[in-house]
């Protein structure tokens, strides 16, 4: 830039020099022509030459000064624009340059300003878009992975990290370094080779064992494969529920078939001639009766359970005295308790506050718990009921000195038809639904059940709401309404 300016200056001076020299030459020639070249003229000629040289020097200085000043003015605004451009280049998109009207570079400055503004807007939009995408990926329950055509991972979301129990950064690594599950490799290879979508279910073993539904989609743009997106949907819970439902149907059929087969068998025997033998007939009819009874109680329990589960059952919510309710239950089971010579101690309930419950349903809870306790306690043992108040909740404990429950069965004891010892339970006339019913009723009452067991018997805990404060009444009934609606 500067070099150009200096060049221009030199050119001007040189031109001026050439012009002057030419002019001088012509003057001298004319003088010679006129033959006036005397000594006088010779002196004047020298003087003239000196004046010309001086004036040319002056002209050169003047030109240099002018052009320097001019250049400096425009270079200053040009420098400002250049500085701004370099700052924009460094990422400071907010930079603007002042536009001087009339200046030569004002057009340029305006254009650069406009360009900066547009770039800033564009970048803002892109980062907004990226933030939105990030938020969506973070919020997704499904694990997501994007890989390039070489099988290198380019993007994953937090759910993917969790699913594969990963701690380190995975972007830039190969899928095989993340998981060596054979089906994953096969799918990736297949999708990359065929460019077709692929859907499959697989068992993951990294971290906890999970059942995962995977959906592979190739990223194809203008017929060219740019990579693959895989979505991993954790369906462990769904599969678990399906299994429970399948088991339930199988269990129900099995439980119903057993008494029916027995009734049918004895009825056929009776028809085939046993009726003629009064002794046998009475015994067989007794057996038929007892199994019909079992069938009836099983169907009754099933109906209760399905009502409780569907939430269509009406629940009263009023103040119930615990000692009274339990006394009533003990009176109902009097005969059984007496037969087995079991001591039932309810003295721990004397101080218990009144609870908020449906009296009939609460009784059902205690009938099941006390009946179980009596059933699984050897003759001469004891069943103790006690209560402990904690704020506006009261926990009733039903403790027996029975055979106890193995610890591996404890978590499943409240499941429908779950039995620790199925032969024994059926001998005792159990339907396998009692504890499931207990759990459902207590949950509908806004309470909770739990169990503890050791070699020396088991303790069942039922936590209920006290009916003390009116606010509690409202809260509980609301919760009830919610539970029922659900």
């Amino acid at each position: 830039m500067k070099r150009k300016v200096i060049g221009a200056q030199l050119l001007i001076i040189a031109l001026a020099g050439v012009f002057l020299y030419g002019y001088l030459g012509r003057v001298l020639e004319r003088c010679r022509d006129a033959e006036l070249a005397g000594p006088l003229l010779q002196g004047a000629r020298t003087e003239l030459l000196g004046a010309i040289v001086i004036s040319q020097l002056l002209a050169a200085i003047l030109v240099a000064l002018c052009s320097y000043l001019l250049c400096r003015a425009s270079a200053k605004s040009l420098n400002a624009v250049a500085a701004m451009a370099s700052r924009i280049n460094k990422g400071e998109l907010g930079t603007r340059v002042a536009v001087e009207s009339g200046s030569e570079v004002s057009e340029l400055a305006r254009a650069v300003n406009e360009m900066a503004l547009r770039a800033e807007n564009q970048l803002e939009r892109i980062s907004e878009e990226k933030n939105r995408l990030d938020t969506i990926l973070r919020g997704m329950g499904e694990g997501l992975m994007v890989a390039d055509p070489r099988g290198m991972i380019t993007l994953v979301n937090p759910a993917f990290h969790e699913l594969f129990a990963l701690q380190d950064q995975v972007e830039g690594k190969a899928l095989i370094d993340i998981s060596r599950h054979p089906a994953l490799q096969e799918s990736l290879r297949e999708v990359l080779a065929s460019g077709q979508e692929r859907v499959e279910e697989l068992q993951l073993r990294s971290g906890r064992e999970r059942t995962v539904f995977t959906h592979w989609v190739p990223l194809v743009d203008h017929g060219e494969l740019h990579g693959v997106v895989a979505v991993f949907h954790d369906i462990t819970d769904i599969r678990q529920l399906e299994k429970i439902r399948r088991d339930f149907v199988a269990n129900v059929s099995h439980e119903l078939r057993t008494p029916v087969t027995i009734i049918k068998g004895y009825a056929e025997t009776l028809l085939a001639g046993a009726l003629e033998n009064p002794n046998q007939a009475a015994r067989f009819v007794g057996i038929v009766h007892s199994h019909a009874e079992r069938l009836a109680s099983l169907i009754g329990d099933l109906l209760t359970l399905s009502q409780l589960e569907s939430g269509t059952v009406g629940m009263e919510s009023r103040s119930v005295s615990l000692p009274e309710a339990v006394e009533h239950v003990v009176a109902l089971l009097e005969q059984k308790i007496h037969e087995r010579r079991i001591k039932v101690d309810c003295s721990g309930l004397a101080e218990a506050p009144a609870v908020l419950a449906d009296p009939g349903r609460l009784e059902q809870v205690f009938v099941n718990l006390v009946d179980n306790a009596v059933k699984y306690t050897p003759a001469g043992g004891s069943v103790t009921l006690s209560a402990q108040t904690d704020g506006d909740r009261v926990t009733v404990a039903v403790k027996d000195t029975g055979i106890g429950i193995p610890s591996r069965d404890l978590p499943r004891i409240f499941e429908r038809f779950y039995r620790v010892d199925s032969a024994r339970s059926r001998d005792e006339g159990g339907t396998g639904l009692g504890l499931a019913i207990v759990k459902h009723i207590v949950q509908l009452l806004g309470g909770a059940v739990s169990v503890e067991s050791s070699g020396q018997g088991s303790t069942f805990y039922v936590t209920l709401n006290c009916s003390g404060k009116p606010s509690d009444v409202i809260r509980t009934s609301q919760r009830l309404a919610l539970a029922v609606n659900r």
Partner: protein, 223 residues
């Protein structure tokens, strides 16, 4: 592990070997998990499936071997790359052997399923878990070039060995008490032995990882 090279085709070949090796590892890991399940759940269907997988593993072994030999012959790798190829050739053998042990376990499980269970298995699943973990961690150490984990696997091999000895003693008492149990007890004894071998192969892989990363041979030396 694959360092900068002048020839990128060479890189592609090396990473292909690595990919196939890890894939084979994944298959073998699955086989260990499945044969434990076949044993514990007494599932003959599962056992048959594992036996069928053996062919695939053998085929992978041959394929990886060929790839390695091809690289050796055509590229004459040096230093780190040579160590890697040597290691791949060895790991492949270990993995194939593990596959074989799994098939043997599955075969024993099939036989065991024909008769009632001798006793509840307590130490067996523990051993199976320990062996599966050792294989998984050895392969993880290979992926990450993690010498620390590799050394730990070598040290932990003792635990599986002890469990195996304990099993052998326990089953011996069964056999001495009741000769009717001999056949089943012998089968369980051999399963225990197979699991112990699987853990040994995992240790071999771990030692190779140390060799690959540090260029130091730690075989047959106290860790």
């Amino acid at each position: 592990m694959v360092k900068e090279h002048f020839s990128s085709q060479f890189d592609v070949e090396l990473s292909e070997v690595r990919l196939r090796l890890l894939e084979m590892g994944g298959k073998v890991e699955l086989m260990i998990a499945e044969c434990t399940r076949a044993l514990m759940e007494r599932s003959s269907v599962l056992a048959e499936r594992i036996i069928a997988l053996d062919g695939e593993i053998n085929q992978m072994e041959v394929e990886i071997d060929q790839k390695c030999l091809h690289i050796l012959a055509r590229r004459q790798p040096a230093a780190r790359d040579l160590r890697f190829i040597a290691l791949a050739l060895k790991i492949v053998t270990d993995l194939e052997r593990i596959g074989d042990q799994c098939v043997s376990i599955a075969k024993q499980a099939l036989e065991l399923n024909r008769e009632p269970q001798l006793k509840p298995y307590i130490d067996l699943p523990r051993m199976a878990d320990a062996a599966a973990n050792a294989v998984r961690e050895a392969l993880d150490a290979f992926v990450r070039g993690d010498v620390e984990t590799a050394l730990r696997i070598c040290r932990d091999d003792r635990i599986v060995d002890e469990l195996n000895e304990q099993m052998q003693r326990e089953l011996l008492t069964f056999m001495m008490e009741d000769t009717a149990t001999v056949e089943r007890a012998m089968r369980i004894t051999s399963i225990s032995k197979f699991l112990e071998r699987i853990a040994d192969h995992a240790t071999n892989i771990a030692e190779m990882v140390v060799f690959m990363v540090e260029g130091k041979d730690i075989r047959h030396s106290p860790v």
